[in-house]
Symmetry: C2
Subunit: 349 residues, 2 copies
């Protein structure tokens, strides 16, 4: 899912996303609550109409942002008091208030409010945050059920989030407890790719995906890079989101089948090749590295847009390829080949 | 002609321009010589291929930029020595070297190198610059003829530029002398909209268009705003270019049939209307003022793009409307109505 934090996938137009075959995008309740305000979005007919995107949208609850962006946090069982990173205004988020915000925004899938901790946390704080997240899942569910529109109770769906840090037994426990709490449509897997080592992340995915019901989609939150997609899909993950393709694109970095490329490098000054010779995106089929480098060197916005387009297309294509291989029963061999090819290439920089 | 100074119409994609019905765009020899370099563009197959635009392109010679952007100018009969506004490097432009640059870039219409002076200049400096521009037109023509590709001499065409400041007799003289010099395909009208009063500009247009051959297109350089387009078309102008639609768009200002609108204003916070209710551009048919304002307030690039799209579309539509009215023999009545409606509306800001 391309990330549209503030109701726009940075530098891209909804028509670009449709053309690339994006089927679902992300918004963020914390950011949209602060700007432009969730009540304004409701007044404007909900986020789909507001941002001109007719496909499915998922909103993260902002748990991650409250714990990474906001300042002067006071965490209590009831909720979290914090200062906005925009204007320093004091805010108080509870599981119930966040469900209210996500109801106003109106995404199709909304995430519970959770307690996110750093990736390397010890067992005690990990257990504490995981168990609080489970209690908050129950409160979110109650608020969600109570606020369901009478004429269309399934207008939105709520996903709980499995936490537990890098502690397998906490992850397993969280997955089991949440599974027993309700017949959820799908599950989030949170608190990964937040500073822990990659092998720890993969181990947690193995544990969680084993513990979750097999017929429900799992969403690995905030992940990831091309290799993370493959590793996640191998372990049963269905949904991903990450700001990397657009953020890296705006910084001049392109994902390619030959590793990462920094278009600002002088070596591309007169390079007539596309960003990636194996790519059929609308940047690679029309423009040379030399042209895109010129745009970056000259601070031209089209450059940011073309690299964002390319990177989002790269990840969407990768996910589509994995889906094809799953259906063909070939995921294991294909992903093994893909990863060893990707890792063996020295980045062309 | 939408302006693509650095081989990109700022914030827009060539496909946007095609969709809006833009038929010809602009590049700038001064800017492209400095970045990425005209020789690089030639090496990459010329500007059309470089920037992915298959329609006609016109390059301004950079006369205006040498006299407005560059520093430490030394003007002599041979040419102009100046410092690049990018890196301070010393450069020397002559009519011959500029033709070489424009040959390398490879636009369809290329402009002569001219001597541009401030809009309020007195007669003596105006005569001096106008007569030098005429002598430089002759030198450009010689260099252009000499450098014509043997297999395709009409690959590009050269336009001279009528100067003469705000002095009718100098303008008339320049138009007559240039017309007698060569059977030009078209003519530029330069040195207007550079600080003089609007009535002076309109008077010069009346004089010049009367003096130029009726069957050759006239290009009013660096103009303009919606009302300037109408006033210019009434006086026989066929081609225009101006950075206003994209520059104003990036600053949050939109042309509308009700005057100018500044989308950053708090009054549009929850405004469900499009930028202009009478507009069918791809911004107005999809997005509200509230959404576009949110994008600007949040520094989102899509906002810059949508306003640029809208403004370019506004001017292209206006030019198309004028063409229809000319063909219907109704230009006079239509333009009179349009201007009085446009001027009577108090800007909604």
């Amino acid at each position: 899912m391309p990330v549209g934090t503030l109701a726009t996938v940075k530098t891209l137009d909804p028509t670009d996303l449709v053309a690339m075959g994006a089927s679902m995008i992300l918004g963020n309740a914390y950011h949209l609550h602060l700007r432009p305000g969730d009540e304004l979005i409701r007044e404007m007919g909900g986020i789909h109409r507001f941002m001109g995107w007719n496909g499915p949208i998922l909103t993260d609850s902002g748990g991650f942002q409250v714990f990474s962006l906001a300042t002067l946090r006071k965490i209590a069982e009831d909720g979290v008091e914090f200062q906005s990173h925009i204007d320093g205004s004091r805010r108080f988020f509870t599981p119930e208030s966040v469900i209210g915000i996500e109801r106003n925004i109106g995404a199709d899938v909304i995430m519970q409010f959770d307690h996110v901790i750093p990736g390397q946390s010890e067992e005690v704080p990990s257990r504490d945050a995981s168990e609080r997240s489970i209690r908050w899942a129950a409160r979110c569910l109650a608020a969600f059920t109570e606020s369901a529109p009478a004429d269309n109770p399934d207008l939105q769906t709520l996903f709980p989030i499995v936490q537990g840090g890098i502690h397998p037994h906490l992850r397993r426990e969280a997955a089991h407890t949440l599974t027993g709490m309700h017949d959820w449509v799908g599950f989030g897997i949170g608190g990964l790719s937040v500073g822990e080592e990659k092998p720890a992340m993969y181990e947690m995915l193995d544990v969680v995906n084993e513990a979750l019901p097999r017929d429900r989609p799992r969403y690995l939150m905030g992940v990831g890079f091309p290799e993370d997609l493959i590793e996640g899909i191998r372990r049963g993950v269905d949904l991903f989101d990450c700001v990397a393709p657009t953020r890296m694109g705006r910084n001049g970095a392109a994902f390619t089948s030959q590793g990462r490329l920094n278009i600002k490098s002088a070596r591309y000054r007169n390079d007539p090749l596309p960003l990636d010779e194996n790519c059929d995106c609308s940047a690679c089929t029309r423009f040379t590295r030399a042209y895109i480098r010129h745009l970056f060197v000259s601070d031209e916005i089209l450059g940011l847009r073309l690299l964002s387009l390319h990177n989002v297309h790269f990840l969407l294509s990768l996910a589509r390829a994995a889906r094809r291989e799953i259906l063909a029963g070939m995921l294991d061999a294909w992903s093994h080949d893909w990863l060893s090819r990707y890792h063996s290439k020295s980045p062309i920089k």
